[in-house]
């Protein structure tokens, strides 16, 4: 009985379709990460400004994005924005927007943390050596923040991949949805398909995230 369930995966293009479904969420997370990195760096620098107004604005933005479950943000972008402004955003576009806003907030906080961890004497020493602002940043500050930032950014990528699995709940056809279609189409011939299909999806996510998070852990240990 049980061994019949797994063969559903090798029926027709089923396994390939699952991979295509996984690619849909991966694509959303990749685009969001690629947009979040530059935006997050800018936001992180913005957060270190001493101006009380910019501080308040960035604080409210960060806290709101952080405290709301990502699914709530997705609902606001997908259902709310359409209603409020009459923009008909596709589900995928609203997902990219939400994950970019979220990624920018998270990345910004990482950048801020890395920037304020550089002791002030590093700036002073650079100035004492007659370095210009550009030289100070390019040769002293950026290389030091990078060591902290790169592992954390890689970690953010795996979090992004895991979190984008939520998009099935706003109706995007990704790996879980494709899995459900396969199960439903083969309900009578392969009644145990659900176990195998969802088990394989679990495995696919693990195979996608595990190498990335292991890399982050290795880099973190090496650069400590």
């Amino acid at each position: 009985m049980l061994d019949s369930g797994i063969s559903v995966l090798f029926l027709g293009r089923n396994f390939l379709r699952l991979l295509e479904g996984l690619w849909v969420t991966m694509r959303i997370s990749l685009v969001a990460v690629i947009l979040s990195i530059p935006l997050g760096i800018l936001f992180g620098m913005f957060m270190t400004l001493k101006n009380p107004l910019t501080r308040a604005v960035s604080r409210v933005y960060l806290e709101f994005i952080r405290i709301m479950p990502q699914l709530v943000l997705l609902f606001i972008a997908y259902f709310g924005v359409t209603r409020a402004f009459g923009w008909n955003l596709s589900a995928e576009l609203s997902a990219v927007i939400v994950f970019t806003l979220w990624g920018t907030a998270e990345m910004g906080d990482l950048v801020r943390g890395a920037l304020i961890s550089i002791p002030k004497h590093q700036y002073d020493s650079a100035a004492a050596l007659g370095m210009s602002k550009v030289q100070t940043f390019g040769l002293i500050i950026v290389p030091q923040t990078m060591r902290r930032l790169i592992p954390l950014t890689i970690n953010l990528t795996t979090r992004m991949i895991k979190t984008t699995s939520l998009v099935v709940l706003i109706g995007i056809t990704e790996v879980l949805k494709v899995g459900k279609q396969i199960i439903d189409a083969n309900r009578f011939d392969y009644p145990t398909a659900a176990l195998w299909v969802y088990g394989v999806i679990f495995g696919l996510y693990f195979l996608a995230c595990w190498p990335i998070s292991s890399l982050a852990k290795k880099l973190e240990q090496r650069w400590r």
Binding site: L2, G5, I67, M68, P69, Q70, L71, V72, F75, I76, F79, G80, T82, R83, A84, T158, K162, T163, S165, L166, V168, L169, L176, G179, I183, P191, T192, A193, A194, L195, W196, V197, Y198, G199, I201, F202, Y205, F206, C209, W210, S213
Partner: protein, 225 residues
């Protein structure tokens, strides 16, 4: 502001009880999930800390599996997959088990980093005072380790409360589910979403504020600095 004036307050009043019930469900699942996560996390962190043979390898595999897969996929497997093996669980049990499976590893990592930050001199001093393994754990290691891991544990709690939002995927009538239902039934999108955001703020803000107060207080509990 146009947005506030156009709100259908009568609609909001009528469906407030739905949100109260849904919030209760969210809080209940989060409560049990966090409690069991702490228990699982504590056991796993002690196993990892003392490198208990065989078990610590199993725990390491569990932690990697749980941290590298999304909760929604875990829930789908528990709720739709396991019944095919004859294991039928209610949606609530699935949600709590799933949350524990996910949260256990996060808690384990936070608690372990607390345990590992205890300096060797502390353990050696305790031994030189003639303390046994249990007494040392109770009086020396745990109080300090817990204080250090509080910020991590609090962050995990907030994370787990937020993660409960995905249980609507297995047809539990939580806040997300009710909101989607109301949007689908009546198209009162603004009202439904506003109540959703407020409900989560009411649940999460106190936890988040409490966490930062606790963190500030325990910062002085560290030894030597």
């Amino acid at each position: 502001m146009g947005f506030w004036n156009q709100l259908n307050t009568e609609f909001m009043a009528r469906y407030l009880p739905w949100y109260v019930d849904a919030a209760k469900l969210t809080v209940t699942i989060a409560f049990w999930g966090i409690l069991f996560s702490l228990a699982v996390g504590l056991v796993c962190s002690v196993i990892r800390y003392y490198r208990v043979p065989v078990l610590h390898r199993i725990v390491a595999v569990y932690i990697e599996l749980s941290r590298n897969t999304p909760l929604l996929v875990q829930l789908f497997f528990l709720y739709f997959g396991l019944p095919k093996l004859g294991i039928v669980l209610s949606a609530e049990s699935c949600a709590i088990i799933g949350l524990t499976f996910l949260g256990g590893s996060y808690m384990a990592e936070s608690l372990r980093s607390g345990l590992e930050s205890i300096e060797k001199s502390q353990i050696e001093s305790a031994q030189s005072l003639g303390m046994g393994q249990m007494l040392m754990m109770k009086e020396v290691i745990f109080p300090q380790a817990l204080a250090i891991s509080v910020p991590g544990v609090c962050a995990n709690m907030i994370f787990l409360i937020k993660e409960t939002s995905v249980v609507s995927g297995i047809a539990l009538a939580d806040l997300m589910y009710v909101t989607k239902d109301l949007i689908g039934l009546y198209y009162e999108t603004d009202e439904a979403l506003l109540m959703l955001v407020i409900a989560y703020l009411i649940i999460l803000l106190p936890v988040s504020i409490l966490a930062s107060i606790l963190e500030r207080r325990l910062r002085y509990a560290g030894f030597g600095n």
